[in-house]
Symmetry: C2
Subunit: 256 residues, 2 copies
């Protein structure tokens, strides 16, 4: 199956992934899984060595069937990229070709801009052992190389696809870098927190823990700060109240 | 083998990767490969299902032997993290635990800061099918979740490790986002470029291509700009000169 198909819009759903001469069906399946992890669904294969469809691919895809079902076969790289306007080639070894080279992070921004402008985009990946040949690189606008440990830079094929897809996904993701995951529980209001502080401090005053008086203000500040750092929910405050009661009563479950 | 070993400094070489109850040796090997791709070398295993060492791991590691040779076994998660000061747990499902959650990108910056401050750092990954249990999550400071396609978010184990290692590596990498890869060839100096422009334009003047005269300035600007966009090297300019000569002479190889 070759040539362009205008009913399949390559600008939908992100960049097309094109595997040239892939060897192992398992790697094709893992590629499909990694693509779908990142919301990519358009996979093209040029001359898969072990044929297509592939049971090994099906098994390794771990449920990414919608990618495998849409996968298309091509006889040549030129046919596989015929309907694409921007083509990246995953290669760390340009081997004499003078060519722009980008990181996956930079490529992600460029690809989003190109797709937003109506240009279809694809990324070429070469066979497992040898990578893309120069005739394929010459069909690409830009080389794409992942900055990695120079002493051990050879990525598994599906892992290379994952990193491109990952950066693609992150470029439009607005997940905060750090947040408190509470399962829907709101953080406690400060009045409840101060209520706990005062109860704990008066209990500790009774025991003499906050002596001598001149050190009490600093000790109280430290205690309050430790509990603030916990960023407690209402449920956490109830637990802390229970602990205070239990320890005061000397029994496991105490009435307050 | 369990417990701390102060002769193995967990602050060297980045975060420790801890796999809890990993099932497939192949995934352990792919994890080792992905780690070394990102410059990470310290792998710990808690109760690997299929035993250790593992031929499947060795084969899948594709040469990341230095990671497998250093890999240590533990009976419990508590023992595996005993010498660590900051522990992240890869989990998208906190299941009722209130806990800070970070992205891999944010974690990378935090881990670099912690390690620079002398704190040892590790990341826990759960078994392939089920992920980390809450008793393991309770040993961690922070959850680590990769923003991915919510409809298909289940990552292969080694791929999850790769994304954490990838962000770790990128956080200290200064590869420019886009550059021209020339294989050492310098870009042409502008005088050589102008020399080519003038030769091309005079050749085109002879043919009448740049008529009528009032359109010539705009056509010249466009031609010069097209060639500028090619960002040519000296070798490229020689090739372009040769093409002009060849087309003028009407023969494949022309003396100029």
């Amino acid at each position: 199956m070759a040539g362009t198909d205008k009913t399949r819009d390559a600008t939908l759903g992100g960049p097309v992934v094109v595997l040239i001469d892939p060897q192992l069906g398992e790697n094709i399946g893992m590629t499909a899984r990694a693509m779908l992890n990142c919301g990519l669904t358009e996979l093209r294969l040029v001359r898969p060595r072990d044929g297509w469809p592939s049971e090994a691919a099906q098994s390794a895809a771990s449920g990414a069937d919608q990618v495998l079902e849409r996968t298309r076969l091509y006889d040549t790289t030129a046919e596989a990229v015929a309907d694409l306007a921007r083509v990246y080639a995953a290669s760390a070894r340009p081997r004499g070709l003078v060519k722009p080279m980008v990181t996956p992070r930079r490529a992600a921004g460029e690809m989003r801009a190109a797709l937003a402008g109506g240009a279809s985009v694809g990324v070429l990946f070469g066979p497992e052992r040898s990578g893309l040949v120069n005739d394929d690189l010459a069909l690409a606008d830009t080389l794409l190389a992942v900055p990695l440990n120079p002493a051990f830079a050879s990525l598994n094929l599906a892992m290379a696809v994952l990193l491109v897809g990952y950066e693609w996904f992150q470029a439009a993701d607005d997940t905060p870098g750090r947040r408190l995951e509470t399962g829907g529980q709101p953080p406690a209001e400060k009045a409840e927190l101060v209520n706990l502080f005062q109860r704990l401090e008066s209990a500790l005053d009774e025991t003499g823990f906050l002596h001598p008086p001149e050190k009490r203000p600093g000790m109280v500040r430290n205690l309050r700060n430790m509990i603030q750092r916990m960023d407690p929910t209402d449920q956490d405050l109830r637990t802390l109240h229970g602990i205070i009661s239990a320890l005061r009563s000397g029994r496991g479950k105490a009435d307050d």
